[in-house]
Amino acid sequence: MKARSKRLMLVGGGVALLAAAVALVLSAFQQNLVFFHTPTEVMEGKAPTGKTFRIGGLVEDGSIQREADGLTVRFAITDTAKVIPVSYRGTLPDLFKEGKGAVVQGTLGPDGQFRATEVLAKHDENYMPPEAAHALEQAHKAGMTVSQ
């Protein structure tokens, strides 16, 4: 029984130490583990603006404009606090819509315009049939407060 409790302490202690070490490493690399930065972080200068990076947020309602060449798209990405204008040339994923989540990869120009080389749609965790979505939309339009 003595030896067994000792082994239990060793195994338990080993896993606890390891977990603590991993937690420290992860918190040290916090900045490198995020897949994208929010527009607010970009405005505050917290994003690596010198090189290619990603911004994530919602595509602002009414901001999508297509250029005459049919390929270039301009839109704005927002976290509801700050807005960043984006230009992108290429095909967009099916789920790319105004008011929905998106992640754009590219560089920030000196004019504050973000030139995207890749646009990804970000889906949320809500799954519902079209009728339910329609009902939610109607309720929203009617000015009711609907918790998302």
């Binding site: 067994r4 082994r7 896993v15 897949f35 994923p93 990804l120 970000k122 799954y127 519902m128």
Partner: protein
Amino acid sequence: MNSSQRGFRIFRFAAPQVFYPLAGRLAPWFAAAAVALTLVGLWLGFVVAPTDATQGEVYRVIFIHVPAAWMSMFIYLVMAFWSAVGLVMNTRLSFVMSQALAPTGAIFCFVALWTGALWGKPTWGAYWVWDARLTSQLLLLFLYFGFIALTRAIEDPRRADRAGAIIALVGAVNVPIIYFSVKWWNTLHQGASVSLTKAPSMATTMLAGMLVMAFAAWAYTLAVTLWRVRPMILERERHTEWVGEVLEREGGRK
């Protein structure tokens, strides 16, 4: 087993000669349950559940993807648990259990990654991105491969057991990282739709299909693991009297 355990009846099943026939009797029931649950789950998922408002039909990947991903994480935790029990209690059956679980965990892990990629292309616009959720899940697959390779590569079963147990315990730290990655960091992967802390954010029939498929994955895992563990027990105990009797009996049946 030492004398202090004689009072606990549950430990009786830790004895290989008791567990071997029990596993053989239980496995077919779990296999039958797996088939029945899979049929019901697929029917709920692909016939009853409605189309998703934003994703359309492609969302139906969740009926495979989510149960597979859950199972891949859970099996690794169970392997770590058996490994810890084996190291602490010196029970050899525990190591055999964790090694019998590993291939199934690896398969579920691969299925989760693969179906996720197929879903990612039409939904996100990319098969693969290096976000925290996807990267940690890929690490889980490599941990499974590492565990399987290491335990098979070492000839001496006692050393193989110990080496595997250490990978299982060290790698277990990755599981909460996978699970909470979507919470701790910005990821492209969406957050959890089903969790213990809030109401599920999906339609009821969709949820039902997903849960039934999750139970099917449980039953499948139990069935194949029990079947896999039996020859492993025989091989390890081949020098004992009871294995000789079993082989004689089963050989005579042919």
